[in-house]
């Protein structure tokens, strides 16, 4: 079973929900930190850092001796990662989505694909949680292939929790695709509601079952609750606006460890998700 934790807005508590849900699940789980631009689940879970395995994408390299500047590659590339204006193509690695099309359409076989490093994947053990995280190299804009590399570490058998980046862009889609359930974390503020509606649009377009966790209940207003009622969206869990939670978070502690009275909330969230997905464990 694969469960993704997402939100429209940043800072709503995705990682808080992901790490505490992972710890409270009751059986060993795999947690994938797919927020590859700023992974931080490991800061809460601890554990010894594992080996960093570099991740590469394939980008074109042009043999100028074979190239006759016909321009087929440039006409094919939707992202303008390869452009022919002079005697040979110019390649812009940062634009390349690594589809390999340019090499296939080149009539002279002048293009071969070469490795371009985009980041690393690391797996570590933290108690009952096996954590895999992706870390995008600074200056790299092509994050989805790194999310795919993180997802390749999924091992069948144990539940998998995927911590998504904020927003609704390609990296989020790469994280949410082919999961069984999505937990959308929001806060009861106009900003939380606005971005929740975007995230709901996204999961509906992806046709994924989902529910909402409202964090910091007690601040803001009741528009998130009212909107979820109107849309028929289930609120799976409400986390109260408790100063002690913020204090534990500020020290990098797991909520279920710092305040054991909240462990039950996350166990019941795990139960609700299992019930919604229709599996026993």
């Amino acid at each position: 079973m694969k469960v993704a934790i997402a939100s429209g807005k940043g800072g709503t508590g995705k990682t808080t929900v992901a790490v505490n849900l992972a710890r409270a699940w009751g059986v060993p789980v795999q947690l994938l930190d797919c927020d590859v631009e700023e992974p931080n689940a490991h800061l809460f879970l601890g554990g010894e850092p594992g080996n960093e395995v570099p991740v590469f994408i394939k980008i074109p390299s042009v043999d100028e001796a074979l190239c006759d500047a016909c321009g087929e590659c440039g006409r094919f590339c939707e992202f303008h990662a390869i452009v022919v204006v002079g005697k040979a193509p110019l390649v812009f690695p940062g634009m390349c989505h690594a589809c390999g099309g340019c090499a296939k359409v080149c009539p002279r076989g002048a293009i071969r694909e070469v490795d371009e490093r985009i980041g690393v994947v690391e797996t570590r053990k933290a108690g009952t949680v096996s954590l895999t995280l992706g870390r995008l190299d600074v200056g790299v804009s092509m994050a989805p292939p790194l999310v795919h590399a993180v997802r390749k570490q999924i091992r069948e058998g144990s539940p998998v929790i995927l911590d998504a980046p904020a927003g609704t862009s390609c990296t989020v889609v790469a994280t949410l695709r082919e999961t069984d359930f999505v937990v959308l974390v929001t806060e009861p503020t106009p900003f939380g509601l606005h971005d929740l509606t975007l995230a709901v649009d996204l999961v509906r377009e992806l046709r994924l079952p989902f529910g909402v966790v409202v964090n910091r209940v007690g601040v803001g207003d009741d528009r998130v609750h009212a909107w979820c009622r109107k849309e028929g969206i289930e609120i799976l869990l409400e986390i109260p606006d408790d100063r002690r939670i913020a204090e534990g978070y500020a020290r990098g502690r797991l909520l279920v460890d710092a305040l054991p009275e909240y462990a039950g909330l996350f166990r019941s969230l795990a139960g609700s998700i299992r019930a919604r997905v229709g599996v026993a464990a």
């Binding site: 440039g74 992202f79 303008h80 990662a81 452009v83 204006v85 110019l90 812009f92 940062g94 804009s141």
Partner: protein, 120 residues
């Protein structure tokens, strides 16, 4: 030689657009014939990424020998340089003024991009 100006309008009186990649249009001026024609930068403007690359391809295909614009990013500059197109940065208010500055030799050719790109 054809010289290309980034602009939001359609004549020599129109404003010179400070952006290259996301300029609405390009005015291509034939220096010898004294004739102007417009190139729509529809593709470049609508691109989520790579606007400069597309704009540079368009002006290269149109047969430009020089580009006069406000600012040009690194990818557009690389394409223009590869196509043998000279790039001049200019702060003139209108295309006509920019043309006059070019003719008087007041514009200095850029040797590198003068603004940072938006992506790696």
């Amino acid at each position: 030689m054809n010289i290309v100006f980034s602009t939001s309008g359609d004549s020599l009186d129109a404003p010179l657009d400070a952006r290259f990649g996301r300029a609405p249009k390009f005015l291509l001026y034939d220096l010898e014939a004294g004739l102007a024609r417009l190139i729509d930068n529809k593709e470049g403007r609508a691109a989520s990424q790579g606007a400069g690359i597309q704009a540079a391809e368009s002006v290269a295909r149109a047969g430009a020998g020089a580009v006069v614009t406000g600012h040009c990013g690194p990818k557009a500059f690389a394409v223009l340089r590869t196509a043998g197109i000279k790039v001049y940065s200019c702060r003139a208010a209108t295309v006509g003024e920019a043309l006059a500055q070019y003719r008087s030799g007041a514009l200095v050719e850029q040797t590198e991009a003068d603004v940072a790109g938006h992506h790696a």
